[in-house]
C-alpha cells in the first residue's frame, strides 16, 4: 500500500473577531470530515468533485500542508498525523506534487534546470550533478536539453506541465499527486500530458493520486475513483463500476452532467459548511431524498467488493452482507 488515509479531518479556523462570538462548533470550518482511502502501488486513484468539495485540501493534507485535526496518513509505511515536521519530511521525499497552476508554481526567476532539481536541494541530497540530473529529467518528460536554460515565461502551457512533471519525479517518488494536471490545456495538448503520465507510470511504477473535476479524463486514466462532496467521500469504487452503475444520486448527477445517459440537473449549489447540513449533507439537492435523509447521517454501504457508497437509499442494491 503506497497511500493509506484513515478518518482524516481537516479544520480551518474561521477568521476575525466575530468568530469568537460564535458557538465553539462554528469557529471552525471542517473541510475534510473523516476521509478514508487506499492506493496500491502502480495504480491511479481519481478524486473527483466540485469546487469546495475538499479535493485540493485532501491532496495538500497527504503531504502535511493542511491543518490535520484528526486521522492518520500513511505513505509507504510511514505514519503521520497532526502537525509537526518529523514524519512529513520523510513523506514529502516519497511524494511528488504537481500543483494546479504550473506557471504560478514555477519560480519565474529560476531557469528550468534549477527548477527541476530544486527538490535535491530542499532534501539535501548529496553527490548529485544537478545539470546532468536536470537533463535526465527533461529527457524523461520529452523535452530537449535546450530547455534547461529557459525561464518559465518562455514555456507554453503544455511545456510548463512537462516541467512540473519532471520536478515531481526528481526524487523518484512512490506517489505523485497531480492536482488538475490538464486544467486550462487545449484538448490536443491535454492528451499529450496524460499519455506522458501513463507512460511514466508504466516505466517507473509510481502511483498517481489524480485530483480533477474533469470526469471524462478521470474515467479514462483512473483505476479507481472517489467522489467527494462537502469534504466526504460519498462513493468510491473501481472506475468502470462507478461510471457504469453509479450508486450515489450525486455521482449520477455529476456523470449526467457530462453527456451519456439521461440528464439529472441538480438544483442549487453546494451548501455552506458552517454549520454543516443535518442528516445526509446532500439531502437539500438530492432528487430522491426522503424524510429520513434530513435527520439521520447515512452509514457506508457496500455495493460490491471495493464499491462503497454513503447513502440511505443507494441507486444500486447493496450486497446482502449490507452495511460495513
Amino acid at each position: 500500500m503506497v497511500l493509506e488515509i484513515e478518518d482524516l479531518v481537516v479544520r480551518y479556523k474561521t477568521g476575525g473577531w466575530a468568530g469568537a462570538l460564535r458557538s465553539k462548533s462554528q469557529r471552525h470550518v471542517e473541510v475534510l470530515a473523516g476521509v478514508g482511502l487506499e492506493l496500491n502501488s502502480g495504480r491511479t486513484l481519481g478524486v473527483v468533485g466540485e469546487s469546495g468539495s475538499g479535493k485540493t485540501t485532501l491532496a495538500r493534507a497527504v503531504v502535511g500542508l493542511a491543518p490535520i485535526a484528526a486521522g492518520v496518513v500513511r505513505v509507504d509505511g510511514m505514519r503521520a498525523s497532526g502537525w509537526g515536521d518529523g514524519p512529513w519530511r520523510f513523506i514529502r521525499r516519497k511524494v511528488g506534487f504537481m500543483f494546479q497552476d504550473p506557471l504560478a508554481s514555477l519560480d519565474p526567476r529560476m531557469d528550468v534546470a534549477t527548477l527541476v532539481t530544486e527538490p535535491f536541494v530542499i532534501h539535501r541530497t548529496q553527490g548529485i550533478d544537478r545539470r546532468r540530473e536536470a537533463a535526465r529529467l527533461l529527457d524523461l518528460v520529452g523535452l530537449p536539453a535546450r530547455f534547461l536554460d529557459r525561464y518559465p515565461y518562455q514555456l507554453s502551457g503544455g511545456q510548463a506541465r512537462r516541467v512540473s512533471v519532471a520536478r515531481a519525479l526528481a526524487l523518484k517518488p512512490k506517489l505523485v499527486i497531480a492536482d488538475e494536471p490538464t486544467a486550462g490545456l487545449d484538448l490536443s495538448i491535454q492528451g499529450d500530458v496524460l499519455n506522458l503520465m501513463t507512460d511514466l507510470q508504466a516505466e517507473l511504477g509510481m502511483s498517481y493520486l489524480l485530483i480533477t473535476h474533469n470526469l471524462t479524463v478521470a474515467r479514462h486514466v483512473a483505476d479507481e475513483i472517489a467522489v467527494m462532496y462537502l469534504g466526504r467521500i460519498v462513493e468510491t469504487g473501481p472506475t468502470d463500476a462507478v461510471y457504469r452503475l453509479p450508486a450515489h444520486p450525486y455521482t449520477r448527477a455529476l456523470l449526467g452532467a457530462r453527456g451519456g445517459g439521461e440528464r439529472v440537473v441538480l438544483e442549487g449549489e453546494p451548501p455552506s459548511l458552517s454549520p454543516r447540513p443535518h442528516g445526509c449533507e446532500f439531502h437539500a439537492r438530492c432528487p430522491i431524498a426522503k424524510p429520513r435523509c434530513q435527520t439521520e447521517p447515512p452509514a457506508e454501504q457496500v455495493i460490491a467488493p471495493r464499491h462503497r457508497v454513503l447513502c440511505h437509499f443507494p441507486l444500486i442494491q447493496p450486497q446482502a452482507a449490507g452495511t460495513a
Binding site: E50, S51, S156, G157, D186, L187, S188, I189, Q190, G191, D192, L194, N195, T198, H213, L215, T216, V217, R219, H220, V221, T239, D240, A253, L254, G256, A257, R258, G259, R263, V265, L266, E269
Partner: protein, 321 residues
Amino acid sequence: MTPLLDIADLSITYAAASGPVRALRNVSLTIAKGEVLGLVGESGSGKSTLASAMMALLPANAAVNGRLEFNGADLFALGPEARRRLRGNGVAAIFQDPFTALNPATRIGVQLIEFQHHKTGIGHAERSRRAVAMLGRVGISDPERRMRQYPFELSGGIRQRVLIAAALLTEPQLLIADEPTTALDATTEMQVVALLRASRALVDGAIVLVTHDMRLVADLCDRVAVMYAGELVEAGPTAEVVTRPRHPYTKALLACDPARIAGPVRRFPTIPGQVPDPAIPRDGCAFAARCTEASGICLTTPPPMVRGDGGDFARCHRLVA
C-alpha cells in the same frame, strides 16, 4: 434577407515590437438573425480576436482589412461614439470569468440599472423593475434581495446568471458568450447551459458562443465554425460537422475529445506538432505540418474553399475532387 452579421475576407494584424502578428486571415462568415453559432478553436486560433472584432473592441495596434457589417452598417467605418452606442445597444457579451466581470464595490442592483443607460424614455424605477424581473427570468431566487447584494456575496453560478441577465437587459441583437461555463463546476455548468438554451427565446437576434468545448456546441448551437491558426477552416450545421467533419483538423480535434472516446482508453489521440507562429509568414495550408493527409500542394498553395450542399464549407486541398 440581409444577414445580421456579414464578415467578408476579414484579416486582422497586430503590430508588435517583433513585427506584425497576423491573428486573423481572410475570414468570411455570415450569421443570420435567430441563429446560434458556435465559434470553436484552440488557443491561438483567433477566435477571441474575431469575437472582439464583432464587438468593435479591437486594441489600438490592430490593423483591419476586409469587411464586417452589422445590420448592413460597416462596423469599422463607425466613429468612436457610434461604436460605444452599438456596444450598449446592439451587441452584448458574457465573459468567461464571472468573478472579475462585475464591479466588486457596487451593489448588483445599481450595476444592472446602469447597464440600461442606453434605453431612453424609461426612468430609474422602471429600470429597477426590469432588472428585478430579469433576475427572476434567469432563475435567481429572491431577486429583490440580490439587487441589494454585492458580488462577493454571490457564488460563481449566481454571478454568471447575473451577467447573463445584465447582457439580456440591453436587449442585444447579437449576444456574444465567450467561454461562459469554463470557470464553473459541472452541476452549475449544466444549470447555466440550460439557461443559455432558454436565452434563445429572450434574444431577438443571434447568439455567438465562443468555446473550445465541442460538447457545449453540440448542445446549444445550430451552426459551428472551426478556426485554426487565424483561419476559418470549416463551417456548417452542427450535426453535420460533428458527425461528418470534412477538414482534417476538425476530425483530429473531435478525435482528441475524451468524452467522444467510447470505452476507457489509456492512450489518448493527440495532434502532433504545434500551432504555427502567427508572426512567421507562411505559404500553403496552416495545418499542413500537422496534417496526416497532407501532400505536396498543401505546403505551397493556400487551400481552396470547398462548399457543400447544406451551406457548409471547408478549406482543404483534399476535398477538391
